[in-house]
Structure formats: structure tokens, C-alpha cells
Symmetry: C2
């Protein structure tokens, strides 16, 4: 069961400049940064609010680390902007199986590692009215490793 | 001060079909529907979670009601997908003035009426790393008029 907006993923060309924009314009602070080699992105998580399911909602700013990454290709086609949205669930495996059973394409056979040790999968945007949609289960210990 | 992700605005061609997708796939329910003649949209708000500032986070599904509306033009260019993101604040006037003072273009001189009696304004996406960004102050009585 999806119980929160976990994050909004925003693709950018220059992570440091984009973090600076969000900090200077809105006062949002960096909660966590990491590089995900598998996804080919360097990212910053800005925590915006906590949520009624015990989690939180973040902006996830994404800069590609290599030209063949999915985000690099997306940026080349679309320019900077909202790349995906993510819903939080206590059980990404169960929700992914349930949603696959409804005929929506789930992009990974098994959930993979996402931000802060979470487990994630993605749904095909063509099956979701144009929205690349991520499902996230946070790590049991959500404390960020800065 | 922006204290929550208020909503993610998603443009679609067929509101009823898109609502049906979100309901059938994820179990999200319609919290409120309305038509905003000024914006030229028919919309459905799906409440996803409550937030630590006393508000909530929604998906806002938007179908254009006329071909010259901003959302209709956006859909013709981009197809279905995430149209904008919105941050909630207790004082949209103060935040819009503050952000304008930082050199970001604010699209309205004064906030206008948004969903459920809220007061809203937008920031120019070219000043926000490609993200059309809305600021929202909820109506004092947020109860929806279905």
C-alpha cells in the first residue's frame, strides 16, 4: 500500500548549482548526498516535510555521472525538470507484484538499491499516463550516511 | 516559509480515465474535484498523506477544458506527464515577495484562486531549473466542496 509521496526526482545539469538555487530561494537544506554508480547519478536529498505514515517527503536532485546513464539521456532530450515521482510503501515487493499483476510494466525483476539504503523499483511511464513512477521502501534505519 | 510538498500537478488528456488508473492501480481515492475556468482546467485532487505542518500532499490531475489554456498547450507539446510541483506555505504573499526579491520571476502580481479555495502563484520554470513551481496557501477551512 502506497502511503506517501516519498520524493520528486528532478534532473539537473549541475547538482551544486541546483542545490544552491533551492537553498538560496526556499531555504531548503541538504539532508543527504550520495552517488549511485548503478543508476549513473550523483544526488542530493532535500527533506521538505515529514509524513503521516512515519516517513518524509524529499526533493531528489539528480545529476548524471556518465553520458550513457538514463538521466543523461533524459536530460539531453528534455532539458532540466521533473524526471520522476516516487511513492513510499512499507513493502515494495508486495506492491510491485500487485501492480505488475494489473498489467503495468515494472522495470526491475527485483527491487534495487535507492537513496539512503532504500529498496526501489520503477513503473513504465507509458503505462502510467506519462509519469515515470518509482516505488520506495525506506531502509529500516533511515539515518543518512553523509 | 515553504513547509510541505502540497501537490504534484499531472496533466492528462482524459481526467476520468486517469483518475480510474490511479484508483485501480494504487487505490488512491478522489478527495475533491472542481473546474477552474480561469486556468481552463478540470481537476481531481487525490490525497496521498498528511504532512507535519498540519497540511497534506495530493496528486492534482489536470485536464484542459479549452484549447487555449496553458495546460492544453503544454500537453500538445509534451504529452501527458508532470506539469508542475507545488510547495505549501502559511503565507503565499510573503513568500512570493521574498522570492521575487531574489530575482525569480513570479507569474502573478497577486495570488489567484487555486484548488479548494487556496491562494496560489507560480514561479517561472526558466528561473527554477526547468521546474514550473507553484506556491500554495490553503484556505483557512480546507474542507472540500464536492
Amino acid at each position: 500500500m502506497l502511503t506517501r509521496i516519498d520524493h520528486i526526482g528532478i534532473a539537473c545539469h549541475d547538482l551544486d548549482a541546483t542545490v544552491e538555487f533551492y537553498q538560496a530561494t526556499y531555504g531548503f537544506e541538504v539532508f543527504h548526498t550520495e552517488t549511485n554508480q548503478e543508476q549513473g547519478v550523483r544526488e542530493a536529498m532535500l527533506k521538505i516535510n515529514e509524513t503521516s505514515d512515519g516517513g518524509a517527503s524529499y526533493l531528489q536532485l539528480l545529476e548524471p555521472t556518465r553520458e550513457d546513464s538514463t538521466v543523461a539521456k533524459w536530460l539531453a532530450k528534455n532539458g532540466e525538470g521533473v524526471h520522476h515521482i516516487a511513492f513510499g510503501t512499507a513493502d515494495v515487493d508486495a506492491d510491485a507484484a500487485d501492480i505488475r499483476g494489473k498489467g503495468v510494466r515494472v522495470l526491475y525483476d527485483e527491487p534495487r538499491r535507492g537513496s539512503m539504503g532504500s529498496r526501489i523499483t520503477f513503473l513504465h511511464p507509458k503505462d502510467c499516463h506519462g509519469v515515470l513512477t518509482e516505488l520506495v521502501t525506506s531502509a529500516p534505519d533511515e539515518s543518512p550516511e553523509h
